[in-house]
């Protein structure tokens, strides 16, 4: 887009880049905010249906689809309160810390081929790293509120998120290993083709580790049955007990943003990313990488695919939330340490051995060999430091 602005509209480079960055940021912000509106409405409807009632029905027509907007207006009109003993600066800043962390992780998330804020060669790692910062806002909120409930909630959240980062990281490593890259775009590209190319169906171990990932992802975004940080029946509202109005809604936007993020990450890592179950575009003879008008339609289709998969993930999280009761803290820790971590480690080893033993998959004709040849390892001019390695050897000999 920046090239278009520079070459066609003839804007100066600095303005073109600023405009491009602004548009990308606004789009991501709208994914989070607009997504939160839709998902809050969906959450109410799903909760209602699961509990054998209707959910919102009146605001905005038959299905109550304006309910979230009405909620938003109500939150805007609410008074912004702060407890007496609170640490004012941290209390005010905490919601933004949470929200910013959630927002920043979206920067490296591809929505389709080339539809990405900033492509990074360590995209997965960046997303996981930034997602871990979100807990910092929660801890600050819990501390700064000067309330026992908030502090308890924050402590629980810290314990939970820190321990679930371990199995989550192990689950994420498996697709990275299969694709031979930490670039989310590359990982999704390797799964192009039919449904069977998805890493979910790569081998039995990845199939199991996907469900470990789902468990850890639900825990790391603090959704029920892992919502100990805001356990309503014990801690009033947990870490956001003292918050009201717009600041409170920032926490909620961060939560829904993270839910969407981990779902999109699951889609990218295990469910083929923007590649649909049936490769419609390539069957029609269209390609996403050519840059003409048709390729944009292919990318839009891919984006619809990814958003659909991610939304489905969020809906499944809601389904889980309204079905399962909340775990106790010892059960949460047991799930992490006794089940998820060993399972993830064993599946990681298994996937590795499978990759060594059966590099082409079970049925060789069904799958194209993905991730076997890596560009950097090839000898010749393409290899990164092949040219220099001879010189390096000489230097080592000279040095004492």
């Amino acid at each position: 887009m920046a090239e278009f602005l520079i070459n066609t509209v003839r804007l100066p480079a600095w303005l073109a880049w600023s405009v491009t960055a602004g548009v990308a940021a606004a789009l991501i912000l709208n994914v989070i905010a607009g997504g939160a509106l839709v998902f809050i409405w969906a959450e109410r409807k799903i909760a209602g249906r699961i509990q054998d009632r209707l959910g919102p029905t009146r605001t905005g027509g038959k299905f109550g689809w304006l309910q979230s907007l009405a909620d938003g207006l109500k939150l805007l009109a609410k008074e912004d309160l702060m407890p007496d003993g609170a640490d004012g600066m941290l209390f005010r800043l905490a919601p933004y810390v949470s929200f910013c962390a959630s927002f920043c992780a979206f920067i490296a998330l591809p929505f389709a081929f080339d539809f990405i804020g900033q492509r990074m060669n360590v995209g997965v790692f960046f997303v996981i790293a930034v997602l871990g910062i979100e807990v910092f806002g929660v801890i600050l909120a819990g501390y700064a509120s000067a309330s026992k409930w908030s502090l308890f909630g924050a402590m629980r959240e810290a314990a939970q998120v820190v321990s679930y980062e371990v199995p989550l990281g192990m689950c994420v490593v498996v697709p990275v290993m299969l694709a031979g890259s930490m670039d989310l775009v590359t990982i999704a590209e390797k799964q192009a083709g039919w449904l069977t190319n998805w890493y979910l169906f790569h081998d039995p171990f990845t199939f199991v580790i996907f469900w470990v990932y789902v468990t850890c992802a639900v825990a790391s975004v603090n959704r029920a049955p892992f919502d100990l940080a805001e356990a309503e029946s014990e801690l009033v509202a947990g870490f956001h007990t003292e918050y009201s109005g717009l600041r409170w809604s920032y926490f909620f936007m961060a939560e829904y943003g993270s839910m969407f993020l981990v779902s999109a990450l699951a889609a990218l890592l295990f469910l083929g990313g923007w590649n649909g179950p049936v490769p419609v575009a390539s069957l029609l003879g269209l390609s996403e990488g050519t840059g003409d008008t048709a390729s944009y339609f292919v990318r839009l289709l891919g984006m619809a695919n990814l958003l659909g998969k991610a939304s489905l993930g969020v809906l499944i999280m809601m389904w889980i939330r309204w079905t399962l009761p909340r775990l106790r803290i010892d059960q949460v820790m047991m799930t992490c340490l006794k089940y998820c971590t060993p399972l993830a480690a064993a599946m990681f080893l298994g996937a590795m051995l499978w990759q060594i033993a059966l590099p082409g998959g079970l049925v060789p004709g069904l799958r194209r060999p993905a991730g076997e040849i890596r560009e950097g390892w090839l000898p010749g001019p393409g290899g990164a430091f092949k040219v220099r390695s001879a010189d390096v050897g000489k230097v080592v000999q000279v040095s004492p």
Binding site: V9, R10, V396
Partner: protein, 244 residues
Amino acid sequence: MSALPMIAGALIAAPLPVAAINWHSLFFLLFASVSCGFAVAVVAADNVVRMAFYLVLSLGATAGLFFLAGAEFLGAMQLMIYVGGTLVLLVFGVMLTAQAPLVAIKGSGRDRVLAGIVGVALLALLLQAAFSVKPWRAPAAGVVAEPAATPIGMSLVGVRVDEPAVGAPAANKRPGYMLPFEIVSIHLLVVLVGAAYLARAKRRKVPRAIEVAASVEPPASVAEHASIGRERHRSGSVLAGGRP
């Protein structure tokens, strides 16, 4: 729609001073000043949690510097390890010790002077070390400039990828940072072991009340029930040095 580019072009036609700014340097200055400013704030603040918050901002800005330099892996590592891991653990520690003398730390004047001396000495050492490294140049011909961690690793063992190796052996003849790095690692390991030793629960010398009660001969009604546990009772009484 065609009018829009013209209007935009007319608006921007005048040569603005912003066009001359080196944006890379500007962002470097921005991140560097945020990092340094909040680093000073960490020292100046007297509330532990606020210190942690400033430290997060300072370390996050350092990660921004890494991203600006194109070292994405290093930047993500900085976020993961320092900002994510260490500070969550720090806040853990703060909350477990959230008592009045620890929440608000007020150093005495003597402490401040000592800390100042140590800090300035360390800064002098680091500055000297930092400026003694020869500036990096663009990679020599034939080297594919790939954003990877390999150059960092090579320079850690004393081989600079960006310098001609054949012509100037003296320039490349440096010991590298491998040994200091290993020493620091071993030091950290020693610290970890020491901390685990200090934090370990001491073995109990005095028997608890329940153990003393258990070492008393059980009544007849419980005698057969306790036949399995008798061995344990005896050993307990011997350990406790109580009556047989």
